[in-house]
Amino acid sequence: MAENGIGARSLRKEDQRFITGKGRYTDDISQHGQTHAVFVRSPHAHAKLVGVDKASVADMPGVLAVLDGTDVAADGLGNLICGWLVKSKDGSPMKMGPHPLLAQGKVRYVGDRVAVVIAETHAQAQDAAEALVVEYDELPAVVDVAKAHDAASTVHDEVEHNLIFDWELGDQAAVDAAMASAAHVTRIDLVNNRLVPNAMEPRAAIGTYDSGLDQFTCYVTSQNPHVHRLVMAAFVQVAPEHKLRVIGPDVGGGFGSKIFIYGEECVVTWASKKVGGRPVKWTCDRSEAFLSDAHGRDHVSHAELAMDADGNVTALRVHTKANIGAYMSTFSSCVPTYLYATLLAGQYKTPAIYAEVKAYYTNTAPVDAYRGAGRPEASFLLETLFEQAAKETGKDPAEFRRQNFIPKDAFPYQTPVALVYDIGDYEVTLDKAMELIDYKGFPARKAAAEAKGKKRGIGISCYIEACGIAPSAVVGSLGAGVGLWESAKVRFSHTGKVQVLTGTHSHGQGHETTFSQLVSEKLGIPFEDIEVIHGDTEKTPVGMGTYGSRSLAVGGEAIVKSCDKLIAKGKKIAAHLLEASEADITFENGQFSVAGTDRSKSMGEVVFTAYVPHNYPPDLEPGMEEGAFFDPPNFTYPSGTYICEVEIDPDTGVVKIEKLVAVDDFGNVINPNIVEGQVHGGLTQGIGQALLEGAIYDESGQLLTGSYMDYTMPRADDVPSFEVVTSAGTVCTSNSMGVKGCGEAGAIGSPPAVINAITDAIGVRVEMPATPQKVWAAMQGMARAAE
């Protein structure tokens, strides 16, 4: 292993700028002549937009422009899109209403963009935005997904019953038969609570038009600048793709919410031309973020698990209603379908599975991918169901799971819900987690807790997810509008320094470090001599961005392939210099050698020769720069077991997490520090979902949890220190590095572990977030029922 190669706990290259205040986030960028945009947003969940009286603010100090949906229409701009076409059971395409940049005719959620005010200063823009007269004619709102089908009004008039699609996966007949002959069926109704992603950096964008070049530039808080450019050019038609540069500079967290192409970045880019090419800057404040960032989760489900008399699971049936919000955001359709129902096999050999998913419009903010995206919903449903089934049949929850695991010799394993798992060994992670939490010692700890008047519970979760998104042909056949390959370039300079250009984007993941380690290992050059460049469509090769733990498994493999091409070219040059046959040249630790001799050339000498090709192989191009695309043959399948132990105060309902152990099988790991950090963050978001967080709308569609005073973010004193093991079990077969991906696991595996622990402690399951009030009320209900 190189000093900072694969497997090293290298310190991050990114950190120097962030710890000294030299990060460069979008709002940190100020340009000459910059103007400021403030969006006027609907205060109503559902209303006819009667009119915007632009004249009401035209003369206010500093106001440069007021633009609304009529201006968008007059300039012929297109709508925002949903990039994944899902078909209903009957084969009909999903029913999608238009998603304009600025509202046209109707507003559909509190926070819907109505107009933008551009002024010389932010304060002036804010003053004018508050003063702008907008006339609305209120309509009844649809808020609750469970009631959307029969609601009195429709969010989009062309979508009857607010039903976007009625989709299914699996073998319904086989499941019906298995249910009919089951010895026992466990049934569950559950809610997957709606969440707000809450990256600490609020969204922001700066649009600029250069009339000399006829070129637009958009700085934006993006997880995928190239996808931004593609959608803004091809669909919204702000500018042709070659006349639009999108830059995602330092981005302060994303968790999915910055994948999507929102109206704001399109509007400020378009509007720059309207104000004489001056830069137009918009920065979201937190209240605005709560209203307008795409939210996550929000499922209501009914599920049934059939078992034979020996406790072998024979079938699973799931009915889910998914809330899509008022508009279909960029990836919204695939989250409750192909990223959800395909994971319902979990780690189990369940022979027959059927899932039906109905997706509904409501008068709430759009819902799209949030850390895990569909997979946490699947994992939560399955693992609470397995827990309940074990309890109902009197089995130990760990042994019930073990009994139903896909055995390690059954891989590659075709699940009944479309995916083929390449490899896994689920007993390894289960055993390790049981050992770390001292599962056997739990009864004694429970007894000790009871002796002091506390309730104690233990909860298991065995999750799986699909990462490394994704094989293009597979996702294409399922309705994706794009390919999900990744690309890279690796470029030496004369002096042997290396630039790595990647189409992925880092917003906390530490790609500058991980990719440098990878290249250092592959090319045998110092970690310090490598620079990773990302986030600018003018500098980097086209890529699909960062989400679904794809950056290393897909983007990293494109880097590996680029390195392999450089090594292959280097061998030709070295063979020429060493007057040897190319077939006899080996490459190791940065040295090209003639096999079986001590004759060699360093990478540096070979690179210099490539750029100063005075003595050079005929017919070989000069230079040392190679690029590659990688389209993965399969998803990757990280899996693991999380076990949580809680203690509950029966007088207050307060749940204290005494211990949470996370044992993951991520395959090989490039930088353990970074991977463990990803798990810590995911665990905390999962604990947030389980105990604290929930986006609540009232019946009229007003967001009640619209600030950090109301929406409970996990804070340092809400979570414990964690015990994590990141590489237990197997090595991925879908890329040469053997990596699986680690970005979402923590948020997928932890909610069911926490909730199962609470259920174990108090004897009844409470819906997430399991606040003290809910837990206390559930315990009172149990006590009354017992009387």
Binding site: M200, D285, R286, G681, T684, Y708, S721
Partner: protein, 163 residues
Amino acid sequence: MTKLSMTVNGKAVSGEIEGRTLLVDFLRQNLGLTGTHVGCDTSQCGCCVVHVDGRSVKSCTMLAAQAEGAEVTTVEGLAQADGTLHPIQAAFREHHGLQCGFCTPGMLMSAADLLQQNPSPTEHEVRDWLEGNMCRCTGYHNIVKAILAAAETMKGGMPQAAE
């Protein structure tokens, strides 16, 4: 417009501001010190923490005019002039106490004040102190570890970089 003078990171600065200008906006916009961030609008997240006369303050919740004549230190002023990192900065790097970096300046400034007031905090005290600083990336695990490590480094003398 009001005239304003203060000392920021050891340098005398002045500017003309509107009465409603917040300290964080004066630092970011007038002085170009963009290391101090704004993550919310309800004084909850702590991304904007700076030191005013030696104590940690949420600079989004203070008018710039209230800092007239004050000594202000931002994250840009935490390291020594020769670039030697403050032990807390070094510990955050050493223990992977940051991911996206957005909350980091506020975390560092808050932690620096904690260790001034309590040089030997327990894990519980660190977590309790960080109540006013949110992080969405790290789950706080490595932030807590870094602050405890920095406390060890700083014990018994002048701050020195951990490395």
